[in-house]
Symmetry: C2
């Protein structure tokens, strides 16, 4: 308990936004304020909820609490803490800036805003001497921001890898478990409400890239924005790639990866990857999320749970809100060291093992020609499998560790061979880079 | 960053104990103080290391830092924070009490002490207005104490289940993967240094019970001591039980379970259990640890990593040390609400599904007699499998949810039947209590 004699004083909360997460948070705050106070040692009092359309009925939200004037609310002297759950850049950014400038701690779940302007907002919070907390911005209910920021504050992190988008993990899991093609599974996910009508943000990796930027910034104490993140989506992953991966002992996952490259450089990227079945990330199924952390001292850690959904995400907001309230009563704030701009490794420079699948004419000399292309670009083959397809053959390769630029040159060289009909799946292998298994 | 103008001021640390974890912590602190300061925003200065035998050479620990007088060190005005890594009850308890009374925050990894006297120590810390932090006491490097205390401060937790002892998880994993008996795997683990010469604390569940008490206290904000914890070890688990579990879709794990029972009661227990293969805990192999949390709002969470080892555990201590240093500079302390004594449910009252294996004479009427015993005690059978063994037969049952007292009465009834030769394995089924799978 903070020892300021303020224990009994209620902390007055303004919530901006009453959508999926905002609505769930309001219900949590109103349903059991005594329970929250008893468990947390802090009394939270919901003062107002700002929405764009205050006339609309919202079940569970008393109209007396609703206002249309978010701008006035964030500087209202009666408000102690501001929770921003509107999402998007504008007007969320100005509202958060106004709240911080007015000396109010802010809790937000706004990954797009943090991935674009996180460093400026953190600096504004530090300047004002108040908290800016955002556990809900990455992987919903899973405690990941606080462990990275506090538990691992002294740790030299080597790599963070996450399954941070539930929609794509659901699609890939279903493709694998039911052997169905991408389009069909996506359509079914849309029918079930597990994917948006316009699924671009999820399936093209934009959502995961924003989270990768936030995780990279925290893990490596630097400023990474979403535009820094190399990005590939899952639309080109085929059931055939997944079946081959399965036979080779892997599953296919969309991963957000942030790791120390050589020297001072970081590699931050989002792409589908082959993960060994024995790796803890391989068992993360359906719409669940998980973040896997490798540290010099801590070793391997994984944090797993519900990455989305109104109530789970609201639970993460509530944890931050209690933290902000405690700090406010104690007159302190969470540490937020200033961050330098990250130096990013170009994607061509990363080193990875690769899975490649190509279709070739099934005649003498073709395999030699193909192997020569690999050799010419210094890409060493770890294993190869040939499958007959009538007049054609499918060749599936796993490479040893190789430079991405060399693999791309190899692909271009293969495409230029007359005997090669199709360069199909290309997947990076993550989690047993040395090919030695786990 | 705490805004007190104290950012540059070093925080002077005294470490008690230079064993496996203490030695690793000292090396972390001495190897890269600048790196830690840069990453965490706080400068930690190792002032002294107290050991019982100061004359002994300790590689990596300068003799100038070593003292034999722990008692003087913990009240030394030059010391800002005390780290206790001696272990055991005495003298750790008096030293921690003296440090707290002198107004010094304490970081400890002492599970035995916390499980026996945690509430009194927490009260002493609250009285002194300083931190008592103990991330390293449960599951080594895995951030579990801080997420439970902070991220889930407002959460209504339903259940916490953990694989919190690496030795027993290594033994059970190896028994399963290599089909070997308990004694043989234990002996091999002892040869490899993965089990102690006297393995009692691990294999009989004492270590896990201490951690269960600590987790239960945090998750349910009450006082639970190790003596409250119902406890069964792994010595009676056979390769046959594990093979049956496998065929039925389960793995066998030693679990620490703390859950809300009816009303105000908690059930806190340690025992081997059958966990569905699709449950995230099932994929925790070898000496890894994991804690699975079920909350009303957050849903299912799992935190996974290295549960032991000097360096990983020291990394958890370092995280706490940085937290304590930040709080000290800010003049605040982590909230530590007072806790009431827990009300515990007697083991006979828990409800679970059960796996039972018995050997019977293979003759007409035996199955009817056996089934009658189940029925007489109100234990409903979910599935049964019979396996011939010459003149005998092995019967393996899975029950629906049943009261433990009724299952024990059933077992006594079975043992009394002339046709029953052996009541073998009994395992609680955890993770799909309704038998519906996940």
């Amino acid at each position: 308990m903070v020892r300021t004699g303020n224990e009994g004083q209620p902390v007055r909360v303004a919530v901006l936004g009453a959508g999926n997460v905002g609505g769930a948070l309001v219900r949590l705050l109103l349903d059991d304020p005594e329970g929250i106070a008893e468990r947390s040692g802090v009394r939270l009092e919901l003062l107002a909820v700002a929405v764009s359309d205050p006339a609309r009925e919202r079940p569970g939200i008393p109209t007396a609490l609703v206002t249309g004037d978010a701008k006035a609310l964030v500087t209202d002297p009666g408000v102690d803490v501001v929770v921003e759950l509107i999402g998007g850049i504008d007007p969320a950014r100005e509202l958060i800036e106004a709240a911080l400038a007015a000396g109010k701690p802010v809790v937000t779940g706004n990954k797009a805003l943090l991935a674009a302007h996180g460093a400026a907002l953190a600096a504004a919070a530090a300047e004002a001497g108040v908290d800016l907390l955002y556990e809900a911005a990455v992987a919903g209910a899973i405690p990941i921001i606080r462990p990275l920021r506090e538990s691992l504050a002294g740790e030299k992190v080597r790599r963070v890898m996450g399954i941070v988008n539930g929609t794509t993990n659901y699609i890939l899991t279903t493709m694998a478990e039911e052997g169905l093609p991408y389009d069909e599974v996506l359509a079914e996910a849309q029918r079930l409400g597990l994917a948006e009508k316009d699924p671009t943000a999820d399936v093209d990796g934009h959502d995961a890239a924003a989270k990768a930027a936030i995780l990279a910034g925290l893990a490596f104490r630097c400023d990474v924005v979403d535009g820094d993140v190399y990005r590939e989506g899952i639309a080109r992953v085929t059931p055939l790639d997944i079946a081959f991966a399965d036979r080779l002992g892997y599953v296919v996952k969309l991963l957000a990866v942030a790791e120390r490259a050589g020297g001072e450089e970081l590699s931050v990227r989002v792409h589908p990857a082959m993960v060994p079945k024995t790796h803890p990330l391989a068992s993360v199924r359906g719409s669940f999320n998980a973040v896997f952390i490798e540290g010099d001292s801590a070793g391997e850690l994984m944090l797993y749970g519900r990455g989305a959904g109104g109530v789970p995400t609201a639970s993460a907001v509530l944890g931050d809100l209690i933290d902000a309230a405690h700090n406010l009563l104690a007159g302190s704030a969470a540490p937020a060291p200033a961050r330098a701009r990250a130096r990013l490794q170009p994607i061509d420079e990363i080193r990875s093992a690769y899975y490649l699948s190509i279709e070739v004419a099934d005649r003498p000399g073709v395999l030699a020609a193909v192997a020569t292309v690999f050799g010419d670009h210094g890409v060493s083959i770890r294993s190869m499998e040939q499958q007959g397809l009538g007049d054609e053959a499918r060749l599936v390769f796993l490479t040893h560790l190789a430079r991405e630029g060399d693999v791309r040159a190899t692909l271009a060289g293969l495409e230029a061979l007359p005997a090669v009909d199709l360069v199909g799946g290309v997947l990076r292998v993550v989690g047993d880079e040395d090919g030695a298994g786990r």
